[in-house]
């Protein structure tokens, strides 16, 4: 091959590169979906659904039955539990595998040598985790119908809002997982999970509507830092007639979380992947 031949080959290569990259991207997704369905379905369901099942049971059934909560609390709680499941599943499904694959099994290497840019590998991780989050979030509905005493009462769901919150909420949570999974050194990951997840769960307006915090102004403002707040409030708005955070603020909160964590996470991922 002479110099001209080499240049010609690489420019025709660049033209075909987009197809090659897309094919690699979808093949990586194919591998992840295959593993989810064929090898890890049981453990995925256990990981994603056990916590919401107990939340719905204790807060939606036990507490109202013993008189510790109002009878309708379960219905009020449902959007929050859905949001929590959606966000935690997407976040954990990016962060945990990344920590394991980068530090212990090195499985990530085969993906990093696949013919697509390193940042696309990061985006693909977010996408699959988001899909797992959406699936877990959707499964909350039939579970709630079984567990809550009055079943599920959804008043005129706002479908576009619901789809939008599911899509952008799970992607933002996946991006948060990307940051967590790549920023924290492996020996600190258990501490990091406790330190990040606990405040995330309890300040995300899952167990209480944001509006009802008006008397606790400082905490109401504080919850706005948590991306989960926007998912909870968004689902509250899409599924119930309860008062909620204004749609514009929800959209803004989700957009900031998705873009911010997405850019930061991709940057951190690339730094981990390429020295």
């Amino acid at each position: 091959m002479n110099a001209i031949g080499a240049a010609g080959a690489s420019s025709s290569g660049l033209r075909g590169t987009r197809t090659v990259q897309l094919r690699a991207f979808f093949a990586l997704c194919g591998r992840d979906l295959w593993v989810t369905v064929r090898h890890e379905f049981g453990s995925f369901l256990a990981q994603a659904l056990l916590q919401p099942i107990f939340l719905l049971f204790v807060f939606g059934r036990v507490l109202p039955e013993i008189g510790a909560a109002r009878p309708g609390y379960g219905t009020q709680l449902l959007p929050g539990v859905m949001a929590l499941t959606l966000v935690l599943t997407a976040l954990q499904n990016t962060a945990l595998p990344l920590v394991i694959e980068f530090s212990f099994t090195k499985e990530i290497e085969d993906r990093l040598l696949a013919p697509l840019p390193v940042s696309a590998v990061a985006v693909q991780k977010i996408l699959i985790a988001a899909m797992r989050g959406v699936l877990a979030g959707l499964l909350i509905l039939p579970l709630a119908a079984l567990i809550l005493p009055g079943g599920v009462h959804v008043s005129g769901p706002d479908w576009p809002a619901l789809i939008g919150i599911f899509a952008f909420g799970s992607l933002a949570a996946g991006a948060m997982g990307l940051v967590l999974g790549t920023a924290v050194p492996p020996n600190r990951i258990s501490v990091a999970f406790a330190v990040v997840l606990t405040p995330l769960i309890f300040t995300g307006c899952t167990f209480y509507p944001w509006i009802s915090l008006a008397h606790l102004r400082w905490f109401q403002v504080f919850t706005l830092i948590n991306p989960l707040t926007y998912v909870s409030e968004g689902l509250r708005g899409a599924l119930t007639t309860l008062p909620h955070l204004a749609a514009g603020w929800i959209a803004l909160g989700l957009a900031v979380a998705l873009v911010g964590f997405g850019l930061l996470g991709t940057r951190l991922f690339t730094r981990r992947a390429i020295d």
Partner: protein
């Protein structure tokens, strides 16, 4: 530019790599070409810069300066095209533990766009060729070290790379697996695949590599065929004398008329091993006779006297010294410096 140069599968030009802004250079100016169909060895002490050099070829390490071309493609400019041409087998298993052995191969090929039927056929064929037939549906967690190594090479071959990079492929394997891998590498070369191999194992390098680059301190200090590298020894026919002596006896032997250079190190139990390098030419007398006489004159008990046949290991030690290396490749002990 000669035709041999343009046809290089890998060309490394003026490569420098510094991991931290003010840290030491892991690679301090390396140039070499890997030609089609050869097995190219990278040899060097720990921390010499081998892994960094390989990392730049596999797109995982960004050069501080200089460039790396794979098949004419600049790795930094178009990493995707470069990745299509290469495959890398790391030292430790990085197999996909969620998948079976067969799935490890077929999914890898799918990342490279190989069709469904073709990848299944190729996977089954490679599994048989690598002695893994019948174990294709096992989860790779159940694979032994040797099996995992073979499966990783099979996986690397799934997308038919032009260049296969193996990082210490036989470290920690049993002799059977090692021999099998050696045969495999020779077989791959015969099928037209170009190989880059890093190793500490001199026998492996000597036996497999067409050319070897010896790296130390981030620089290539020698690059040639194993045969010509051996000629880098100060003398091809030196001798090694083992004597019982109370103290370092090297001065006794340093004065031998045929010895260009002498070095001694303790051999335990009050013995010293002295190496005298020099032109011997096999004349009567010469180094052995002189050494014998020197030992007798000093009243030292002679334990052993043997000719040094230049092995690759001798070349390696001669070029890189005897000091142990720290994590950054710096010499941490000067006890053996001669």
């Amino acid at each position: 530019m000669s035709s041999a140069e343009t046809a290089a599968v890998v060309r490394v030009e003026g490569l420098h790599k510094r991991y931290q802004g003010d840290g030491p250079e892991a690679v301090a100016g390396i140039d070499f070409d890997v030609l089609p169909g050869e097995i190219f060895g990278l040899l060097g002490p720990n921390g010499a810069g081998k892994t960094t050099t390989i990392g730049t070829i596999t797109t995982r390490v960004r050069p501080t300066s200089g460039r790396v071309l794979v098949d004419g493609v600049d790795v930094s400019v178009d990493p995707v095209s470069a990745k299509l041409r290469i495959a890398a087998v790391p030292q430790l298993s990085n197999l996909d533990r969620s998948l079976t052995a067969l799935e490890n191969l077929t999914f890898h090929a799918s990342y490279f766009g190989t069709g469904r039927r073709e990848r299944r056929e190729r996977a089954r064929e490679l599994l048989v060729r690598f002695g893994l037939g019948g174990r294709e549906n096992d989860h790779v967690n159940n694979y032994s070290g040797g099996m995992a190594q073979r499966l990783m090479i099979a996986r690397a071959l799934m997308h038919e790379p032009r260049l296969l990079i193996l990082d210490e492929p036989t470290t920690g394997l049993d002799p059977q697996s090692r021999l099998f891998l050696w045969d495999t590498m020779v077989d791959l070369r015969e099928r037209g695949t170009t190989l880059i191999l890093t190793t500490h194992d001199m026998i492996e390098a000597d036996r497999l590599c067409d050319r070897i680059a010896i790296i130390d301190g981030g620089k290539i200090i020698a690059l040639d065929t194993p045969r010509r590298l051996r000629k880098l020894l100060p003398a091809e026919h030196g001798i090694e004398v083992t004597v019982a002596a109370p103290a370092d006896p090297s001065e006794l032997f340093a004065g031998l008329s045929d010895a260009d250079r002498t070095e001694a190190r303790p051999a335990g139990e009050g013995r010293w091993r002295v190496r005298c390098y020099g032109e011997d030419g096999g004349q009567t007398g010469g180094l052995p006779a002189e050494a014998l006489a020197a030992a007798q004159r000093a009243g030292l008990e002679l334990i052993e006297l043997k000719r040094l046949e230049g092995s690759l290991e001798d070349v390696f030690v001669h070029l890189t010294g005897r000091e142990l290396r720290g994590a950054d490749g710096a010499r941490v002990s000067s006890r053996w410096s001669g």
